[in-house]
Subunit: 80 residues, 2 copies
């Protein structure tokens, strides 16, 4: 079994109102010196396979098809 983590983040230049809201909330809570905040998603997957190369190719295909919107998001695949 292979465990993998996929991290999906917004591309640079794409507006992130959720990140902006967190930035504001952190300021209100008294955390000074917080610059940009960007929010993304993380997926932890288990694959019933022992072939790491195939797993990596599968994970990239999953990102392209479902997990990420590649118009506005980047993804990174890490195999544990």
């Amino acid at each position: 079994m292979i465990k993998a983590r996929v991290t999906v983040t917004l591309k640079n230049g794409v507006l992130d109102p959720q990140g902006k809201a967190i930035e504001g909330a952190l300021g209100t809570l008294g955390f000074s010196g917080v610059g940009h905040v960007r929010q993304g998603k993380v997926f932890d997957l288990e694959l019933n396979s022992a072939d790491r190369a195939k797993a990596e190719a599968d994970l990239k295909a999953m990102c392209e098809k479902l997990l990420a919107n590649t118009v506005i998001e980047n993804y990174a695949v890490e195999i544990a």
Copy 2:
């Protein structure tokens, strides 16, 4: 300036309907052999500070107060 990444994931045993939905969708798309899927959140923050120890303490406080619901979520702080 310090760049940090905070990863917030659901604790074991907490139901994750979003992860289940992704699991189902991946199966429908023809990806066989996908086991459990869990979804979490990731925050990329910039801190205007040079003190890594203080930054780490601040980030943990931010997680406790705002970024994570520690009843059901774990968090991990990584400083770049």
